[in-house]
Amino acid sequence: MAELKFIGGYPEYMRESIKLVEKTRPKRIGKLPPQMSPEEKEEILASYHPDYTPGGKRDIKIGPNKGDIAPNEVVDLLEAYPVIDPEEIDLSRVDYEPDILIIGGGLAGTSAALLANDYGVPAEKILLVNKLRHGDANSMMAQGGTQAADRPQDNPVIHYIDGLGGGHFTNKPDVLRALTEDAPQVIQWLEKLGAMFDKEPDGNFTELTGGGTSRRRMHACRDYTGLEELRVLRDEFRNRKIPVLEFYPAIELITSSENRVAGALLWGSETREYKVVKAKATILATGGFGRLHIRGFPTTNHYGATCDGVVLAYRVGAKLRDTDTVQYHPTGAAYPQQIIGLLLTEKLRTSGAQPVNKDGEAFVFPLEPRDVEASALIRECYARDKGIITPTGMRGIWLDTPLINVIHGKGRIEHSFPAMVRMFERFGVDMVKDPVLVFPTLHYQNGGVETDPQGKTNIEGLFVAGEISGGVHGKNRLMGNSTLDCMVFGRRAGMNSAEYVKSVKSNGKLTLEHVKKYVNMLEEAGIKPGRKAPILFPEYRGKAVLARMIDVPLLNKEK
C-alpha cells in the first residue's frame, strides 16, 4: 500500500467525504429523518442486527437453561470444564469468614457494600473482592448518564413504559418497576454523598433525553458520569474501612451441605494460591461479557468483562434469562485504529450529533433505541455501500459532532464532552472541527442471572446485582438504565442480604460437590474436556509469540 497523506488526523481520501458532510450540515439542522414505525423496526432488526441474523448462536446443552439459545461464545463457557480439580482443594482451612461476600467492585458491588453497612452489618463483616482493582469496571467508563424520572413532566410509570418498549416488552415487570421507582432515591443518595451532577443555576439537574426515552431524565456528570459516581461511592466505601481484596478473582462458588451458596474460592493472580471465603450471603456483581467479542465485534468493555460470574452462578444451578440478546452500541469508534470499538456516548446524539453517510446524507433518526440505530448503521455500510472504508478495512459512518456547537453555541462540545475530545485529540483527531467515524460495538450483556426485585436468585444465599443479572432490561437496554441498574439492585442486594444473614445460623460443611456434579453433566452430554472457564482475561498476545509459547515451572511444588 502506498503511503497515505494525512490531514488533521485523516487520510486525504476521507477528507473528500468530510467535505460533503460539511456541505450538507446547514441543511440538516433541525431536519431529522423520521422515526421508524414498529414494522420498519422489526424489519431492519431481522435483516441487520447481529442478534437476529442467522448464525452465531446455539442451544445450551446442559443445566437449568438447557434448550435455550445463547451466543456461541457464551455457550462455549457454559460448556467448559472448571479450572480446578475439586479433590485438590482443602476447604477445611477458611481464610476469610465475612457475613457478606461481594464479588466485583463496580457500581453494583460498591453500592451493595455501603447499603449492607447502612443496614447493620459491621464493616469488618463485609468483604469485597476484585479481579483487578476496586473500581476497574465497566461502571467507570459509563459516559452518558443515569436515568431518573424526577421532573414534574415525568414520572416513574412513564420511565417504566419507555424501558418496557425499549426491551421489546420482554422485561421482567416487577424488577423493572423497582428500577424506575428507586431511581430518584439513587440520585438523591449520590447528591448527598457529594457527586457533582450537571446542574442548572437554580440547583436542579440538567437533564437530557436518550435513545428511546420519551422524557428528559438523563443525569450526567459531563461525559464522566460513571467515573464520578463510582469514585464518590468508592471514597465513601474507603471512609467506612470496609475490607477489600484486589487481584483475587473468584474461580468457583462454594456450596454448603445445607444446599446453599456459602462463599467462594478465590485465586491470587499474583501469588497463584487459592483462598477460601466462607460467607452467609454471597453477592455476585461481576459485570458482563464484552471481552468475549461476540460475533467478532470489538467492544467498549473493560479488560475483565469475561462472563465469569454467569459461569460460576450457572454451575450452582442459578437460572438465566434473555441469554439470546446482546447489546451493540451504535457508535463505537471505527477510526483511528488505536481506539477501535471504544465508546462514543449516546449523549453526543442527544446533544445534536447526527449519523451521516459518505455522501453527507442523514439516513436515520439519531435517537432510535440502540438495537434499531445499530442495525441502521450496519445496513448503510454493508447493504447500501454508503460507509467510509478505513485504511485497516473497517467501514464506518460519520457522526457529525461539529453540529453540537452549531446548535448549542461555541464551547459546548469542549465543556460537555471532555473525555471524548481528549481521546480523539490523543490520536490526532479534532472532533470539535471534524466529524468522527463510528460503527456498532459490543456494549452490554442484556440477559443474565434471573433475579427478583430484592436481588435474590433461585439459589439460597446467592444474590446478584448489575450487568450479570437478566430481566430488568428484557432484550434491549436503554441508555442510562445500566448505571441505574447497578445502583438500584446493588443497594437492594446489600440491604436484603443484610436482612438475610440475620436468619442464617450456620453454614454447614463447605463443599464443591456442585462442581463435581457439573463435570458429570458435561461428560454425560458428551462434551469433551479441553476448554476451561472462567477465563478471567481475554487473549490478545501476538500470534507469533503464542505460537512459540511453552510453560516452564519456576518452582516445583512440594507435595
Binding site: M140, F197, G296, P298
Partner: protein, 253 residues
C-alpha cells in the same frame, strides 16, 4: 439469508486484529521499544498496551478499562537520547520508536478517612487532612505529569486558599492514576485531596436540588401505585399502543 451471513463475517474479518490479537504478517510499519529495558520490535500503529501484548505480555495488573477512564495503566517512559522523563496512560498512547517503558501498577498514597456529614465546609478541612499542601513549592511537576493534562498545581494552590469550586472544577476529569503524587517533591497526594474537595463541593457548594427530593417523597407515599397497577395489568397489545403513543409525546433536546 446468505447475504446477511456474509455481512457478519465481513465485520468480524475487519475487526480481527482488535479482537484476536495482531498477526505480524499484516504489519508494514514497525518501531523498536524497550519494556523494562528489553528490546522488542512492535507494530507502529499500536498503543503502548497493545504493543506490550503483541510482545507477549498478558496483563493481570496495570490494565483496566483500556479506554482512558480508570487510571490503572500509568506508565513512565523516556525516549532514547532524551533527558525528559514522561508519563502516559498505556491504553491511550501510541508507541514511538525508542521508548523505554515501565508501568506503575499501584500508587502507595495515604487517603484521609473522614465523614462527609460532619466536616467543616471551609479551608480548614484541607489542612486537617492534607497539611502537606502547605509544602507546595509551585514546581508544577504534578501538572506536567498529569496524563489528563489537568492544571494540578493550580488546584493545589486553590485548595490552600479554600477555593472549593476551583479545586472541584479543575480536578473534575481526574482518573486518579496517582502519577502526580508519585512525582511530587513535596509528597502531596493531589488526587486524594481533589476527591475530598469535589465531594465537599458537590455536597455543600451548590444549591440543593428540589425535583428528586419531592419525587422521592411522592414515591414513598405510594402516589404512583395505582397507575403502576393499572399499567402492569394491561395486555401486551395495550402496552404496545401505550408505548407508541408515549413516544409521540417525546421531549426534544
Amino acid at each position: 439469508m446468505e447475504k446477511e451471513k456474509n455481512i457478519m463475517e465481513e465485520i468480524a474479518e475487519a475487526n480481527k486484529s482488535v479482537t484476536r490479537g495482531v498477526d505480524e504478517k499484516e504489519i508494514e510499519h514497525w518501531v523498536t521499544i524497550y519494556i523494562m529495558g528489553e528490546e522488542y520490535k512492535v507494530p507502529a500503529a499500536l498503543t503502548i498496551m497493545q504493543a506490550m501484548e503483541y510482545a507477549g505480555y498478558k496483563f493481570v495488573r496495570s490494565c483496566g478499562c483500556r479506554a482512558g477512564f480508570c487510571g490503572a495503566c500509568s506508565t513512565v517512559y523516556r525516549k532514547k537520547g532524551e533527558y525528559k522523563l514522561q508519563t502516559a496512560m498505556a491504553c491511550q498512547t501510541r508507541v514511538e520508536d525508542g521508548m523505554y517503558l515501565v508501568q506503575i501498577p499501584f500508587a502507595p498514597a495515604e487517603k484521609a478517612i473522614y465523614d462527609i456529614n460532619k466536616e467543616q465546609y471551609d479551608v480548614s478541612v484541607f489542612f486537617k487532612y492534607y497539611p502537606e499542601i502547605a509544602r507546595c513549592v509551585s514546581c508544577n511537576t504534578c501538572t506536567k505529569s498529569c496524563p489528563q493534562n489537568l492544571e494540578v498545581m493550580d488546584y493545589v494552590q486553590a485548595a490552600i486558599k479554600g477555593d472549593f469550586a476551583s479545586v472541584a472544577e479543575g480536578s473534575f476529569d481526574c482518573i486518579q492514576c496517582g502519577l502526580c503524587a508519585m512525582r511530587c517533591p513535596a509528597d502531596i497526594v493531589q488526587y486524594h485531596l481533589a476527591q475530598l474537595a469535589r465531594r465537599m463541593y458537590g455536597r455543600y457548594g451548590s444549591p440543593e436540588e428540589k425535583n428528586a427530593k419531592k419525587r422521592v417523597k411522592e414515591i414513598e407515599k405510594g402516589e404512583f401505585n395505582k397507575e403502576f397497577d393499572r399499567v402492569m395489568s394491561l395486555s401486551i397489545d395495550e402496552l404496545k399502543n401505550l408505548y407508541t403513543e408515549q413516544q409521540k409525546t417525546r421531549e426534544v433536546y
